[in-house]
Subunit: 325 residues, 2 copies
């Protein structure tokens, strides 16, 4: 992009009024050059008003996910400050991983309006029709791989905090699903690459069943899935939700980077529907049954089984008797 374009976009995304006259003289370009870039942005789908005698102003559409509309909602320093938006992606994870390998900086976000081959944990499919919020965030944390579980907790908490702003009561299900009631509204996938003692990068994928009815999901996913549209009876502003998730996670990430794991583990436990429930976990070919009693400081789910306490680090969990049920 030209520096003219970059500056116009920066000003517009901050909510400022962009005076074509002032900007043209500041950059030493013609007012026509400024107008041409505004015209291009309008063709891209942006709603940009002309304020007579003052200049141009971006008017973010409700639920608009174009990059400047998202940046307009952001209160973060690095998360989401660079954004790529795609109408349709095979998978935002795959694209962002490629960007990571090319050297992209921490905080880059890739959003897709739909994913053709969205991925969940363990290589499972994640259905990503239009209307959902499907995005991936690039992190370059300076931690050994054994501490990655902390990121799982952080993003789980961040999503629950964000959803609460819309009046929902989300619960965390170990290791990283977000439920409302018994139904999944959001999944989180962490993928990483690097050496055992230092992650080179982490790609955090977050998928929220937002503005589509659960009827749009394939039959096998419906019994366990909910959508925000169905729960609230109306659409949510996905750009605002994305901004809230990024803002909450950036704050928690900063806290963890300065060693504050304790409050994160406590909040996760307090928001979880797993602790206190009778669970069945299939983990690396074994089945573990018992009462989930704690999350260890090393990320283990601690399960009281008939053979004593077991520490479980991976697996698929289901409830045999959910807390309070």
């Amino acid at each position: 992009m030209t520096s003219t374009g970059a500056l116009i976009e920066e000003r517009l995304s901050s909510g400022s009024i962009v005076s074509g006259r002032l900007l043209a003289s500041e950059l030493g370009v013609s007012r026509t050059a400024v107008f041409k870039h505004i015209a291009r942005l309008r063709r891209d789908g942006y709603s940009i008003g002309s304020l007579h005698g003052q200049g141009y102003r971006l008017e973010p559409r409700f639920d608009g996910l174009l990059p400047l509309e998202i940046r307009n909602r952001l209160t973060t320093r690095t998360f989401g400050r660079a954004i790529e938006m795609l109408e349709s992606a095979e998978s935002t994870q795959i694209l962002l991983r490629r960007r990571a390998e090319e050297g992209a900086p921490e905080g880059l976000v890739v959003v897709a309006l739909e994913q053709r081959a969205g991925r969940g944990r363990g290589g499972r499919a994640w259905h990503s029709p239009r209307g959902g919020l499907w995005f991936s965030l690039l992190l370059r944390p300076k931690i050994p791989m054994r501490e990655l579980y902390m990121l799982t907790l952080i993003f789980g908490i961040a999503v629950t905090r964000a959803l609460k702003q819309w009046g929902l009561e989300p619960r965390l299900k170990w290791p990283n699903d977000i439920l409302v009631g018994e139904m999944k509204v959001c999944g989180i996938l962490l993928e990483t690459s690097g050496e055992p003692d230092r992650a080179e990068f982490v790609v955090v994928g977050i998928g929220v069943n937002a503005n589509f009815p659960a009827a749009c999901l394939p039959e096998e996913a419906r019994p366990t899935s909910a959508t925000i549209l169905d729960l609230l009876g109306e659409k949510i502003d996905r750009a605002a939700l994305l901004g809230a998730i990024l803002s909450e996670s950036e704050a928690l990430y900063g806290q963890a980077s300065s060693g504050g794991f304790g409050p994160i583990v406590r909040e996760w436990k307090a928001t979880s529907c797993t602790i206190g429930s009778e669970v069945v976990i299939s983990s690396l070919g074994r089945e573990i049954r018992g009462l989930a009693v704690d999350i260890g400081t090393d990320g283990a789910l601690v399960v009281q089984t008939s053979n004593g306490l077991e520490r479980v680090y991976s697996g698929n969990l289901s409830y045999s008797k959910r807390k309070g049920a």
Copy 2:
């Protein structure tokens, strides 16, 4: 490759005599087709003898690293059963990672006679002139990332066991260097990709300063590096060394897969020059000084510092006073 070619190569690499007449009739091809493949292998550099009236036999050259010569030395079931050999690679790690992403099976080995941009831990350069043994091995272990340290221990032990067969007395330096005396003869690099609770694949890179004089290394590497040629005063059969490393590591890997971590940690400690030494570790921006006293069952190096015991999971270690020195 044609099935004729594959079968000829399988027979040759096992050390069998390949009868052109019998093979031709077995496969329903002409004896000329068999001979043509033998001729191609000879052009590729293989030494294949003709035993009058019996057939062809591969005669592996001393220190020959062509795939059939390596397979001829192998006693493994999966490690190294598939091999790619390159005259010159940018980095065997990068190539094998690409193969992993394409779905290559566990055990695939990539060998390069030289690396143009060999990599060590933390993105540092690893000098890989001709004469060394530079290879990468693909693993697909069913373990969470927090257990990858066990692979670091396994490959360290496997290399020391192999080098002992040539009368050397190698020692392990935490986290994964192999020294003879004070000097590094081998480095090990583990790189992985996957989800925190399940590695998708691990690429194990092993570089042995084998058949070249240390004078071939750049000046900055010489004060800390030794080569087997310098230590023994003669060349080693690299294919045999590779076979020994793969054989030892496959055995240990099998042992670890069935949960036998205890003997591995014990052997690592017994072979280590780190435990019992005064160490300085720079780890994620901090410096830790003290006496290295143990390796924990979670892979931590346990250091007795002036503030008590510290568990260190990553970093670069140097000795302030080495055990026995």
